[in-house]
Symmetry: C3
Subunit: 353 residues, 3 copies
Amino acid sequence: MKTMKLSELSLYLEQRGFPNTIDGNQELEIVGVNTLHEAKVGEISFLANIKYREQLLDTKASAVIVNLDDSKPETLTVIRCADPYGALAATVIGIHGVRKHPQWGIDARTQIASTAQIGTNANIGPFVTIDEQVVIGDNVILYPGCYIGYGAVLGDNVTLYPNVVVYDGSRIGDQVSLHAGTVIGQDGLGYASVEGRWMKIPQAGWAVVENDVDMGANCAIDRATLGETRVGEGSKFSDAVVIGHGTKVGKHNMYVAQVGLAGSVNVGDHVTMGGQVGVAGHLTIGDNVTIGAKTGIWGDLEANERYFGIPAFKWKQFWRQVAAMKEMPDALKKLRKLEKELETLKAQLQNHD
Amino acid sequence: MKTMKLSELSLYLEQRGFPNTIDGNQELEIVGVNTLHEAKVGEISFLANIKYREQLLDTKASAVIVNLDDSKPETLTVIRCADPYGALAATVIGIHGVRKHPQWGIDARTQIASTAQIGTNANIGPFVTIDEQVVIGDNVILYPGCYIGYGAVLGDNVTLYPNVVVYDGSRIGDQVSLHAGTVIGQDGLGYASVEGRWMKIPQAGWAVVENDVDMGANCAIDRATLGETRVGEGSKFSDAVVIGHGTKVGKHNMYVAQVGLAGSVNVGDHVTMGGQVGVAGHLTIGDNVTIGAKTGIWGDLEANERYFGIPAFKWKQFWRQVAAMKEMPDALKKLRKLEKELETLKAQLQNHD
Amino acid sequence: MKTMKLSELSLYLEQRGFPNTIDGNQELEIVGVNTLHEAKVGEISFLANIKYREQLLDTKASAVIVNLDDSKPETLTVIRCADPYGALAATVIGIHGVRKHPQWGIDARTQIASTAQIGTNANIGPFVTIDEQVVIGDNVILYPGCYIGYGAVLGDNVTLYPNVVVYDGSRIGDQVSLHAGTVIGQDGLGYASVEGRWMKIPQAGWAVVENDVDMGANCAIDRATLGETRVGEGSKFSDAVVIGHGTKVGKHNMYVAQVGLAGSVNVGDHVTMGGQVGVAGHLTIGDNVTIGAKTGIWGDLEANERYFGIPAFKWKQFWRQVAAMKEMPDALKKLRKLEKELETLKAQLQNHD
């Protein structure tokens, strides 16, 4: 962590491809980066989303990175930039730095099979096991306790944090980052019921993790029964996400923690799932779908829609259901009252006759 | 992976106890096994379930394994067999093979305590730790990074994939297979509230995993506070399943990923739970119960029933609730309309008097 | 495990600070400790909660530890004590003992960086990796396969079970116990959407686990984007609990398995969450809140309340909703009947005119 004057930061950003202008006090000393809500004096923040614009009024941040045409409170110093997100990430790196990985070279206590191929500039910690016929690209970082099974392939610039397990035959793309305890390519739940016992169907497929995928800790991605399970390019998972055998996750998906997809699901591109979402097997989910946290999916989902609830409804309909649900106890009382009144009316009407 | 002529495959199946007849082209070259839906030309498939019978019309599979009396489209080649499931598994093994485990013997970098007993034909990778008084059967495969605690017992033909942890005193039966990162016998959540702090109640029990149990990756089976936690013979778990302390899972259960059972639950035999099901503590679940995905169980469940929902209803009732729920917003409108009409009627009636 | 006469046990408890009196047969031979419901003859139990008082009538336990003023069935032997919980834990230790950790000293196969500092009486198993600038207190037990990242700090009396991972910069307090496979301080899900791709925001914060925290197996606690993620003093988690980046868990919280909190949540003290509860990001939860299993939280929660359901309601309201839901299908029938009757009445009334 280091401090920078705002004028220094402006120059630093420009040099990294983020031209910008300071609107306010160039002399501010920046000591950290934080959210609008959590920032303290001396910290720089960013306007991530127009819905947070009101936080500009209340933030304690000393400066804020904003878009070229964002309005600002008079007393606030801002850095204007065409790409505030890119500038934010660069600022975080400039002020806070990035994780410094230990430098192991290839530790002598790593078990590397004689037929394994490893690219240049490998950084492999102790107590790692690399099996026969494994192929590993350049600039790979394998933390202690990782296991790479027979014939698995890892691309360039892959980082596996401690105790990650990659089963035999799995294929991991470039720039993939898997956090501790994540497992790729274990057998899926493939059993047939034979006279009251579960008979295992050998899981002869494999798992593919495409380029630029990140996963959190303790995720588990099944291999396919036959063919492949696939996590598409650029998709990002939080912790404890589980993907069933034969499922295909599209590109640039974003899954919050504890999401679970059963087997043989086909998910489109740019799909977002909140925490603890569950998707039943053999379904198709269109592109650009957003699924609210804890939602349970038992049917195919149309592209470009938002879904929510158990079972899932489209977003507006879900909240109508919830509103109706809240009215229910009172509505039932009214219903009973109506029944009585109707009886009274009927009696009255009979007396008239 | 190897290819076989259909006539060769037929013979291969017969030799393994699956007598069969080919109805169609014996000369087909089979290069893989796949589902009816996903099969390509050159692949063989299987009719798993009569509900998929229509897929026989559309499949691109070159041949399909079917039951003795299944009808078939005229142009499709089938193998008829009294046990299509058994034949399927044998076919997968014949064409795709089974996982070839690395051959470590007993790796020199394994830590084996002097009082541990290990059966014949052990295959134990590097960086494994086996504690004092452990007893391990024959033909056991322990992948790198496994830990076997004090006094634990493992049966014959057990396979523990990388980084599996078996705590002290746990008992693992024969033919058990635990995938990477699964943990058996950690302490359960046993605390008493004493003056606003949680005081630990020592977890003095243990965990038992009976014969023929399989678990996916990153499962966690608590030891009991007192006595045992038990996973019954032949039960199969997917990934990230969690079983609380003192719970008894019956025989031949099948749990999809992320199922969680609290403590002191008693589950019967042949129970199936969908993904993300949760069961509260101290409940009893009868034999042959099926529980739909994401269901929350807060009460005992009768044998031979299907349950679904949060809170859980019997299957039919659940779908009636969902249907009613969908009608609700409209019903509330109707109710308001009725109220008004009734008021009007009452007024009219008063005018009559 | 050893047996004790009840009179011996009484003395043993007194010596450990739990003065007590036996009301019944002092000569009973106690062979184990168990719950009221599960106890067998020869076992001692305890009255944990007045709601279980009726179980005193049915228990097969030979003796029960109760409060000073609890009434008892005439034929039951009890030990009266001002602190039955404390006496219970001491009894479990007396009869069943506590876990005996292996004694490794500092195993030669552990990788300890030259700048790491380790306190007195360390017990560190093989295949552990301790990175540069790590500071570890006294009496620490690190099981095989643990990884402690750059600059992490561990207090005194910490126990990390096999394959626990503590990322760089994490801070672990005194008397912390983390079960196998738990991960502290991995990157959270911090990405900004830039032209359809997810750009990583470096996670420059860290994770703090305060004194006296226990976690089960396979938990995952994100580091913060900026600043810290914090798990407060004395909090206890079961297995597979996931805490998002920047979230602050208060003191003496109790979370059952598979609970998931998103990022930037602020949880008060003495909060209890049932299994599989999910909490959305950026929320505030008051002190002494209790949340029922499987509940989904999308809004701030008032202190001292109980919540339940998806979405969450206060406890009583939730059960009113469930009751109303069960009435719904019948209510809809009644509504249709009322509509018809009203039509009939209107027609009748028109005929009158």
